[in-house]
Amino acid sequence: MLAATNRFDLARIAQFPALYGTLVGLIALIVLLLCVGKVPLAYNVRNLIVRWRTSLMMVIAFILVVGLMTMMMAFVNGMIALTANSGQPGNVVVFSGGANDEGFSNLALTEVTNVERTEGIAVNAEGQRLASKEVYVIANQDVPVGPGQKPRRAFVQVRGLEDPLITSTVHNLRLKPGGLWFSAAGVEEATSPDVPGGAYVQAVVGNGIAGELGMSSPEKRPLVVGETFFMADRLWKIVGILDSTGSTYDSEVWAKRQIVAERFGKDVYSSFVVRATEIDQAEKLAETLKDSKEVALTAMTEEQYFVNLQATSRVLLYAVLLVAVIMAVGGIFGVMNTMFAAISQRIKDIGVLRILGYARGHVLISFLLESMILALVGGIAGCFVGMLVDGWTAKSTVGSGPGAAKLVVLQFVVSQEVLAGGLVLALVMGLIGGLLPALRAMRMRVLETLR
């Protein structure tokens, strides 16, 4: 399956033997060194304690590097989790020909009447085709500001739907208890004369955006069913809240398509999302839609679409890794300094050990273990610090390129892979930073050390 082979996420990187393999390898190395080494470990541990100031400084440096890397990875992980959870297997998304994202896609209402009759689209119990016809708009919402402040606006993603029941089935999203879908008219008459246009626009909102919209209110709490917000010269009334945490729809406002079209001047569809009869038929359905003679269409499985949206995450992931590597290299120089100093301070110890019959290898192992212990302690502490961010939320963008982006609220995910990555980074720093000094200690000539 194309979607599977092109899929990109951290879980997959983790399955790639590199990460866990490296971690297991590094830990195995420590265990091996402990077994082969003859110089008592207490010698290294007590020396680290005796030089506690330098040790502490290095441990803090490790905590900073590893903790920061863990946090950043958890952020990227959260972005990836969002896109990974938003696509439904068996779904196919359809855009206008040439467009790869709904932001660029315009399907005239008249030219797509036959799309939902395409062979291979699933049907629900009522005999309706599972084809969600949607228009996607990024709305400007004026943000209330204090007197004298510059007027501000925020972007709100609005999705107009023909039939919310079909759409929710296709996207496999439910309302949180106590909510309703908007009516066929999509509006609700207002009794108060102050309501612009004499009616409320009925809206179903994502759990995340309910929080965002509430933050600009005086009470700074998430909006609930029955409350309103102002946007595009109308009052929008929340009739339901989507149970959408962890998906990109979490940051969207859903309303009746006709109302959205009228309010934002966009009387077209952005996309069709259709459900194939069988999950493994999605590819075929996409091909059939692409070959439509009537109108030029772009079609792909929804999973593929969301994989494409990981492009931003991928760039950020590389940036995070690059920053982590740069910081680690800086840290390695620090470790080297510490270990070189430790060795020149303990030249006589090395000499005594060698005279007593300890081999060069024993000396190497002893000092290498010392820097790896330092790294392990710092790395574990760094992971604990990094774990603090688990569950934090932050705003971000997922997208496949400039312009094709979704604004999302994500949750930091400190996964096993992230922690494994942090430990690998720490141990690699300890290994590289300790190796050169340990080699120097090993190469020392016995008679010279005691002079």
Partner: protein, 237 residues
């Protein structure tokens, strides 16, 4: 007769170093034999080669030419790693500045050489305790070197030297860093080792009083043996 029992045999040993383009001869065709159980002192002015000779006998260095036999081992032909293994089993070292590892306790310092030998933990413990008992430090097992006096530290050094039950004990100025009283105690202890445990001891010193404790004193000058003194066992005690 002495030849037959000799534990240390040094035959025509030369040792030179190159300093820049200049060759410095430290030992020039030196021969020596030490019978089993002898307490031998090496004396001589600095630069006479006494420490170099000691290093050759202890397997810390190899001669430029000539042979060094310890028992039936020709150590002058051994590789570095062979020498290391050999040293652990056959030589105990006592240094002027004790050279104990500062972060380890007296017990742990004495235990160090045993960690290289295969033996049970119980046996190891027994040996360490015996060695420390022998030097009179049974009540200082868990003290670190910093918490011990110079004399006590040197006793730990001696315990470490004998714990492997080596054939040979070498000592480089063992009293050089001690006050007269402590030095006397240490020399007395070494004498006991030789007499009661039949250890062969080779000691470098420039202190005539220390040398008096030895059964024989060899004087070196410019890399050659120039003079030999023997003392009766009675004077040594």
């Amino acid at each position: 007769m002495a030849e037959a029992e000799a534990i240390v045999r040094v035959n025509g040993v030369h040792k030179y170093f190159t300093r820049g383009s200049e060759r410095v001869d430290v030992l020039q065709g030196l021969s020596l034999s030490v019978p089993n159980g002898e307490f031998l002192a090496l004396m001589g002015p600095s630069g006479s080669g006494k420490t170099t000779l000691l290093n050759l006998i202890a397997g810390l260095d190899t001669p430029s030419s000539g042979e060094v036999w310890i028992g039936s081992d020709l150590i002058s032909k051994m590789s570095e790693s062979q020498l290391a293994t050999w040293r652990t089993r056959n030589v105990g070292f006592i240094f002027q500045f004790y050279h104990l590892l500062a972060v380890l306790t007296a017990y742990e310092n004495v235990e160090l050489p045993l960690l290289l030998l295969s033996m049970s933990a119980a046996e190891r413990k027994q040996r360490v305790l015996t060695a420390l008992d022998l030097v009179g430090l049974s009540d200082r097992l868990h003290h670190r070197p910093g918490q011990l006096s110079g004399g006590q530290q040197q006793r730990v050094g001696i315990a470490r030297a004998i714990v492997t039950d080596p054939t040979l004990i070498v000592a480089d100025e063992p009293t050089g860093d001690l006050d007269a009283k402590s030095a006397d105690d240490i020399l007395h202890l070494m004498g006991e080792l030789q007499r009661e445990l039949q250890k062969t001891i080779i000691m470098v010193t420039h202190d005539p009083k220390a040398a008096e404790r030895a059964g024989r004193t060899l004087h070196l000058e410019k890399g050659k043996l120039v003079h030999e003194e023997r003392r009766s066992k009675a004077t040594a005690s």
